[in-house]
């Protein structure tokens, strides 16, 4: 498993040179053009995942995202690398847009810390509050999916030989109410 974008391509190339046949997994930000080119030749199969709805699907947020990428001339295969940054910019903008001028440390921190029922970009339809319930030890992490304690949506991008498929999942239910911060709608988003 290749857990970060700085090691993905080197790890994949090493696997190819060693004749590895075990399946490889990585985070979506691994999916650069160079990585994709090599992944298509790896016989063990390569799967990338990301915790959001498919940015190339029919979700309204996804359409905003792809339009923004198209406007800047980005190819579809580059989209996944940009999701976290795009989510962050949109979500922070939404959180801060009500801060009165002039902004101060206190007003900015308060807006980021107390923002409630905020639509979570590419979430899917997830809402969060910063009340510390997402991860009790970390009140600053409203958008983080508490490990193993709630449902979350994720996409999978699978390279098998020369084919590439994407799928969307809603998964990992457990019902541990104490850790639940996000409210997810049970909506499977189609991918293309």
């Amino acid at each position: 498993m290749l857990a970060d974008p700085t090691t993905c391509t080197a790890g994949l190339k090493a696997a190819l040179s060693l004749g590895f046949t075990k399946p490889l997994y990585g985070v979506a930000s691994c999916g650069t053009t160079d990585f994709s080119k090599n992944a298509a030749t790896y016989t063990g199969g390569v799967t990338l995942t990301q915790g959001n709805v498919s940015p190339t699907g029919d979700d309204a947020d996804a359409k905003i995202f792809t339009q923004a990428m198209d406007k800047n001339g980005k190819k579809t295969e580059d989209l996944f690398h940009a999701v976290d940054g795009f989510q962050t910019v949109i979500n922070v903008y939404t959180a801060l847009k009500t801060v009165p001028a002039p902004a101060t440390t206190e007003s900015l921190s308060k807006a980021l810390s107390t923002n409630k029922t905020h639509a979570f970009m590419l979430g899917p339809d997830a809402h969060f509050t910063c009340d510390g319930k997402a991860l009790r030890a970390s009140r600053g992490l409203p958008g983080m999916f508490a490990p193993g304690n709630q449902e979350f949506a994720f996409i999978r991008r699978e390279y098998e030989a020369t084919s590439l498929t994407w799928s969307t999942h809603l998964s990992w239910a457990s019902g541990s109410a104490s850790a639940v911060c996000l409210r997810l709608s049970r909506r499977v988003v189609s991918s293309r």
Partner: protein, 148 residues
């Protein structure tokens, strides 16, 4: 990274600092004191996790992507995972945050931190495939492999 953070907060033009930072522990030490909220995109260190009111994540974060891998691996019926990640605080924090998810999925994880940059991971992957004694722990970190 500390110098970079100092330049940012002393520029007097930044209200909120956004970005993906490998060594975010160094950055949050500076931004936290300066009163500039830090918003990280995906990775995070334990220092960021502890920086209540000073650091935030508003993305789905690397954690959910990693847990999606755990779920996928579980569905495939696999049991053992060798996890390679760059040895910086922002990646270490994510790996630690996801350990519970991997354990929940019934997976055994061997962690292989590698230095940045590591353009050639052949020796690391050779280590992963080498025969080894039977293990008893659920998760452990192996020392960084020798670089080629």
């Amino acid at each position: 990274m500390t110098n970079c953070a100092n330049k940012a907060v002393t520029s007097n033009s930044i209200a909120v600092l956004l970005g993906t930072v490998g060594n975010d522990n160094a950055v949050v030490a500076v931004t936290g004191k300066a009163g500039v909220p830090l918003v990280v995109n995906s990775g995070f260190s334990s220092d960021v996790l502890k920086a209540e009111g000073k650091a935030f994540i508003f993305s789905s974060s690397g954690v959910s992507g990693m847990l999606a891998i755990a779920k996928t691996v579980q569905e495939k019926g696999l049991k053992n995972v060798a996890l390679v990640h760059v040895n910086v605080s922002g990646a270490i924090g994510v790996v630690k945050a996801t350990e519970a998810g991997f354990k929940k999925a019934g997976l055994t994880v061997d962690v292989y931190p590698v230095p940045y940059p590591s353009p050639d991971l052949t020796s690391t992957l050779s280590t992963i495939t080498a025969p080894r004694p039977k293990r008893s722990s659920c998760s452990r970190t192996r020392p960084p492999a020798r670089r080629d």
